[in-house]
């Protein structure tokens, strides 16, 4: 019983992969150009170079994405939960959030590079900064939406504020927080590609751009497959967390 949904999911992902491969294959035959290799060629390349060179780029990219998402989450979730419940605080901070949220933060990349150097830090900071706001806004709205009756029921049991956050606000918002993480994951990987295409020699973004500049298209697609895997693995991790922590949602 317990393994059942797991296998079902694996099968679904496998079937979806096949469908995408078929479309890719048809498109590649139609285009008939080196720039779009067939899926066989790309997969062959992927498995051939993964252990040699690709793995290191994969690892460093995974590191950057995971650290930036976790850092953003650790800051945005508590702040969002607070802003949703504490009107006084929200009154001061909400305008700032509204003002800053719609600015495409990626435009500050040159400034960030200038201030933080060219290592991992500016990349993690940039991804984290963008994702921070996505998580913050979702969490704040979820926290605002916790029914006041839930809070009353807790207060009538004599709960202190900290206990209300722990027993009510946090678990009530968790499903929406996980949704925001899923959305942020897509954003994070897109930003990752961008920040890795400058001034670095590590990471999947660099690997893809480098292969492109050498017109090594199968290699480029091997990098793209690597990036897709990265996203997929992190998605699956989020799914597992959700199944464990939000079991009550799926009854």
């Amino acid at each position: 019983m317990k393994n059942n949904p797991f296998w079902k999911k694996t099968l679904e992902i496998f079937a979806a992969t096949i469908v995408i491969m078929v479309f890719w294959y048809l498109l590649a035959i139609y285009v008939k150009n080196n720039i779009l290799p067939t899926p066989q060629e790309a997969m062959k390349e992927f498995f051939m170079i993964f252990h040699g060179t690709l793995w290191e780029h994969f690892y460093i990219s995974a590191y950057r994405v995971v650290v930036s998402i976790i850092a953003a989450m650790l800051l945005a979730v508590p702040l969002g939960l607070l802003l949703g419940r504490e009107e006084q605080l929200d009154r001061y901070i909400a305008p700032v959030v509204y003002l800053v949220y719609p600015i495409p933060k990626i435009v500050f990349l040159p400034v960030v590079f200038l201030l933080m150097g060219l290592g991992n830090l500016p990349k993690i900071f940039m991804i984290g900064l963008i994702v921070f706001f996505q998580i913050l806004v979702t969490t704040r709205d979820a926290s605002k939406g916790v029914p006041v009756q839930n809070i009353h029921s807790m207060t009538s049991l004599g709960a202190r504020k900290r206990q209300i956050y722990y027993h009510v606000v946090w678990p009530a918002c968790l499903p929406k927080i996980l949704t925001s993480l899923r959305i942020s994951l897509g954003t994070a990987i897109a930003v990752l590609f961008f920040v890795e295409s400058f001034a670095t020699t590590e990471g999947l973004g660099y690997f893809i751009m480098d292969a492109w500049s050498m017109a090594a298209y199968s290699q480029m697609f091997a990098g793209i497959i690597g990036m897709s895997f990265l996203g997929l693995i992190l998605y699956i991790v989020l799914d597992i967390i959700e199944a464990k922590w939000c079991r009550w949602q799926y009854l």
Binding site: Q149, G158, H167, V168
Partner: protein
């Protein structure tokens, strides 16, 4: 024992303050039960929340066992209509919550809560989530949580209004039994005339906004065996109906 003196509450909504309660004064002896009934929006829930210590009255005061409570009291338990249970907690966790908030240890929780769950027929659902229970079972979990706190006063805000008629009657008997067994002081807000008559030794009929006590009716027959089938029960219901202005053919 609950005494209230000229309780009034005005909600300060921008520009048009709403008078929710005006001059509500009553006394309820220890172990007595009172039902509060009135048109919707008459402030009966507000009154209950003030007694529970969740709202502060604009003027007047509540005295419970001789002292004015500050905030929710340890001897008062409140049961709400729908939102009392948390869907992310199992039956056991929900039932423990009040004790947990008060800092009881895990072992003590089990010792106190499991017998109560067994008594209320919920033992086999300990690890289920509220979504897996029927409405009646859920309300029993809410009652279990309140009883775990060993309260002297039980406040209920339309506890049975989302249940079907059959479950509702069963639970009314159930509440009556619990009230007797635990010698609770019971205050029940309801919009069901039969429920008010069945569970209230006193019946507090409230007027439309601003909520005032229209009449306090003594209901001495409450709790006697087979009350629901007796002539007096129906007479009391009819009296309430005309007081509440419900047209009769």
């Amino acid at each position: 024992m609950i005494n209230t003196y000229e309780l009034s509450l005005t909600y300060n909504q921008a520009e048009n303050p709403v008078d929710a309660l005006r001059d509500v004064t009553f006394d309820l002896a220890e172990g007595e039960s009172m039902s509060i009934i009135g048109p919707s929006g008459c402030g009966k829930s507000t009154l209950l929340f003030i007694i529970a210590g969740l709202l502060q009255p604009t003027s007047g005061r509540v005295v419970i066992d001789g002292s004015e409570p500050e905030g929710p009291g340890a001897e008062t338990a409140l049961i709400l209509q729908d939102y009392g249970l948390f869907p992310w907690k199992t039956v056991f966790e929900n039932a423990c919550l009040g004790l947990k908030v008060k800092g009881y240890k895990r072992k003590d929780l089990q010792e106190i809560v499991i017998p109560i769950l067994q008594k209320l027929g919920l033992a086999e659902f300990m690890y289920s989530y509220p979504a897996q229970l029927s409405g009646g079972q859920r309300q029993r979990v809410a009652i279990a949580r309140s009883l775990a706190l060993k309260p002297k006063i039980l406040l209920m805000d339309e506890p049975l209004s989302s249940l079907d008629a059959l479950t509702r009657e069963t639970l009314q008997h159930f509440i009556l039994d619990i009230w007797r067994e635990h010698k609770l002081t019971l205050v029940l807000v309801t919009h069901s005339i039969e429920e008010a008559v069945f569970l209230g030794q006193k019946i507090c009929v409230m007027s439309d906004r601003p909520g005032m006590i229209k009449e306090m009716i003594e209901n001495p027959m409450m709790g006697c065996p087979g009350f629901r089938k007796k002539q007096q029960f129906h007479e009391m219901c009819s009296r309430l109906r005309s007081l509440l202005g419900v047209e009769q053919q």
